[in-house]
Symmetry: C2
Subunit: 116 residues, 2 copies
Amino acid sequence: VYYKRDPQTFFRHLSPTQQQELLQKLKHDYREIVLGYFINDVAIDQRLNDFVNAAFLTDVSAAQVVEIHMELIDEFSKQLKLEGRSEEILLDYRLTLIDVIAHLCEMYRRSATGEM
Amino acid sequence: VYYKRDPQTFFRHLSPTQQQELLQKLKHDYREIVLGYFINDVAIDQRLNDFVNAAFLTDVSAAQVVEIHMELIDEFSKQLKLEGRSEEILLDYRLTLIDVIAHLCEMYRRSATGEM
């Protein structure tokens, strides 16, 4: 598959409002991926691919994805503490992050190498 | 910094012997990074950058880095079990992996976007 990217859709070229909208969408989608990752959600591969495609097309960096992850973990952590539950599961979510940024890295690698 | 990559040095274009040598070097260097990551090794940033540069120049994928990581964790896990010690630290090493592939992703992203 060849993905022609339009620099006009790159995150850093969007208006502040559009950036906020994109970020909200990425956060929402990443949350769904994390929550579905360990329960054998059948749609998880598709969701992960869609997320990675969206990040690639808008030239989002792995650092931005790590930030989205950390914000979400922070939120989950507060919730688990409120409920007096163990935060151990949050360590497992790092595997989800590794999977997501490895996929994103592969998109950029192929793009850089002209394999697409 | 502009990194012109020579496809002849790409991992998949090396001879089997050269591939083995490169893999051994990457494994060795990754091991040093993991072992130095949480002890404030002053040389750690440089080591991490060197590793990521080497991977980028040879067009190594994030999946290959994940494999190197898992092999190393496997080895550490056996050792810790033999010594009757907790394997908890191994979970922390995931943070090292996240850092490494996020950096690698950034190299490929910049290369794909022509920012180098």
